[in-house]
């Protein structure tokens, strides 16, 4: 009872505010407003989306960016952690510079470096492919990897401590090669934090629009960008469409996390 009481303030604030936000979004996606009331609820906005090729293109684009950016960040994060765990505080601090950097700043940096006439362009004397505003979204992915890989690496490092190093030594003496040690000793230890972090990253990539807005193509847009443009139409229909897109993005984000959680539990048993 006392534990519940202690949990109450935080959980209630989260539940009420977040719940209100979600209910509000669902409500307006169903076309309900203060004027019309719940009786006017319909699925028109969703139906319109289902018929709109722009939406499907945006959904596909969002998913592709999310999967590629998350997967690349994971790989880079493990490599980064492998280097950092034998390094001192300075190296760790340096590597975590991008973690507190706002995404918007990272995106501006992305444009400065990768854009036409940017630093990379000048250094290499011409880039072979467009990285900024390119329809494939390579620039978006690169900015996300720069931002998220260090974040994931820090999570990995926290789990890849002396106890794991001790087991790695034991495995090495028993004849396990470096890759075998990574697979059988390190991976089981870092899997849970890594997958949890990956779910957070994937959910963020699905929902945020700072980076695609700054460095991504004008078309296709990510789901959140799509919602933003719809909001700007300022009509009641636009609002409903925007909310519907956001509800879909929310469902996607939560599904990704649920998938990760299910994966974690399955391997645990």
């Amino acid at each position: 009872m006392r534990t519940l009481l202690a949990l109450a303030p935080a959980l209630l604030v989260v539940l009420v505010l977040w719940g209100a936000g979600l209910v509000g979004a669902v409500r307006s996606s169903l076309g309900v407003s203060r004027l019309t009331g719940w009786s006017a609820a319909d699925l028109d906005a969703y139906r319109a989306l289902a018929d709109d090729p722009v939406f499907w293109e945006s959904l596909w684009f969002t998913l592709r960016i999310t999967v590629i950016a998350t997967a690349l960040s994971l790989v880079v994060a493990v490599a980064l952690a492998a280097v950092l765990r034998r390094s001192g505080v300075v190296a760790r601090l340096l590597a975590s510079v991008p973690v507190p950097m706002p995404h918007l700043v990272a995106a501006v940096l992305g444009v400065l470096w990768l854009g036409p006439g940017g630093i990379a362009d000048r250094l290499l004397g011409g880039l072979p492919v467009d990285l900024v505003r390119d329809p494939a979204g390579i620039g978006i992915v690169l900015v996300y990897v720069y931002k998220e890989a260090p974040f994931l690496a820090l999570l990995v490092l926290a789990a890849w401590g002396p106890a794991v190093a001790a087991r790695e030594e034991a495995a090495a003496v028993l004849g396990a090669r470096p890759l075998q040690r990574l697979r059988w000793v390190v991976w089981p230890a870092i899997r849970a934090p890594l997958l949890t972090g990956a779910a957070v990253v994937a959910a963020f990539v699905i929902g945020a629009f700072e980076v695609p807005l700054a460095i991504g193509p004008t078309s296709p847009q990510t789901l959140s960008e799509l919602a933003l443009s719809a909001t700007r139409e300022a009509s009641l229909d636009g609002r409903a469409t925007a909310s519907a897109v956001l509800v879909i993005a929310s469902v996607l984000a939560v599904s990704v996390a649920a998938l990760a959680a299910a994966g974690l539990r399955r391997r645990h048993e």
């Binding site: 087991r167 030594e169 034991a170 495995a171 090495a172 003496v173 028993l174 004849g175 470096p178 000793v185």
Partner: protein, 343 residues
């Protein structure tokens, strides 16, 4: 060989040799470099100079997984995500052996270490003793050319240590696996080693049979480690060293000498040549530890519990001639030889 992990020289001039199938105990105070030596042998630590060989094959420069060596650490270091049998068979898995054969060999080994039928159990819930048995089975599984044991009793409950000691001895005898065991406990070293190498401050100061190390340590430091604190210095004249308390019989030629006297060789004797005062008498369970003094001269004796002298008593003591030996002269200390089992 020499090794200097992290800049500090930890090992210098260590030279050990274990005959195939033999059992050498490496003993010394903590910080002597014993664990570092094991890690250098296993390839976990680089050695600045020196060579490691197994059966005439040089191992230097080989990474740990390419050396025919297995190791049991102070802690079990089992993999928590695998069951007991897969932990035991880990080396086979790394070598690409199939699952069925791994299981069969792991189950057989588990039976040998007294954990019959526990193969499918997770290792998380097991006691420290059980985990260390699994670690032992895991090290034996690949039939290593050399088995390194780094204080394997350290993480085990005191009342379980005896069982683990006997298990190690039995398996070692059955399999004739060449074994190097590290301990900081001299009694354990005597029990576990056919020979003992004493290591102090990164040097092997003496490598000998347990009997010789206990009864005839060759340096004051070795004597102190093996429990002899009675160390005297002076001029031997006519086979006797004159001390403040009286004459002590000294073997060897006349001249300057450093002597050690085993505590067990000092007895209370009303006719004895030495006059001393009892400083302290403590009953330690089986014997009476008595500290004696006269001027700057100090002796420690282990006496039968009765009769017990009291602090302040003036007593006469005698020294059995067989309990006295002479350290070699400083410049004549022979280089510590390789670990020889039957000198």
């Amino acid at each position: 060989m020499g090794a200097s992990p992290g800049g500090a020289v930890v090992l210098r001039g260590v030279d050990l040799e274990i005959p195939t199938g033999g059992r050498l105990a490496l003993v010394g105070p903590s910080g002597a470099g014993k664990t570092t030596l094991l890690r250098v042998i296993a390839g976990l630590e680089p050695s600045a100079t020196g060579r490691v060989e197994a059966g005439g094959r040089p191992l230097d420069g080989l990474p740990p997984h390419r050396r025919p060596i297995a190791m049991v650490f102070q802690e079990p270091r089992l993999l928590p995500n695998l069951d007991a049998a897969e932990n035991v068979a880990f080396a086979l898995r790394a070598a690409g052996v199939g699952r069925r054969e791994r299981r069969a060999r792991a189950d057989a080994l588990l039976a040998e270490v007294g954990l019959d039928g526990l193969g499918r159990r997770g290792v998380r819930g097991m006691s420290g003793g059980e985990q260390q048995r699994i670690a032992l089975a895991r090290a034996l599984c690949p039939d290593p050319g050399l088995l390194l044991l780094d204080e394997p009793m350290a993480s085990v409950d005191p009342d379980r240590r005896e069982g683990l000691r006997r298990l190690i001895l039995r398996l070692q005898a059955e399999r004739r696996v060449t074994t190097l065991i590290v301990t900081h406990d001299r009694d354990e070293a005597a029990e576990m080693g056919e020979a003992i190498a004493l290591m102090i401050e990164g040097r092997v100061v003496q490598c000998d049979t347990p009997r010789n190390l206990f009864l005839r340590p060759q340096t004051p430091a070795a004597a102190r480690f093996f429990g002899t604190r009675n160390i005297l210095g002076g001029e031997v004249v006519d086979g006797v060293l004159a001390t403040e308390a009286g004459p002590v019989p000294a073997p060897g030629p006349d001249g300057p000498a450093r002597l050690a006297i085993r505590a067990e060789g000092i007895v209370l004797d009303p006719e004895g040549p030495l006059e001393m005062t009892v400083r302290e008498a403590v009953f330690t369970g089986s014997v009476l530890r008595v500290r004696l003094a006269r001027g700057d001269m100090r002796l420690e004796a282990r006496l039968p519990p009765d009769p017990s002298p009291s602090p302040g008593d003036a007593v006469r003591v005698a020294v059995a001639p067989g309990a006295v030996w002479r350290f070699p002269d400083d410049d004549a200390v022979p280089a510590p030889g390789p670990g020889v089992l039957h000198p």
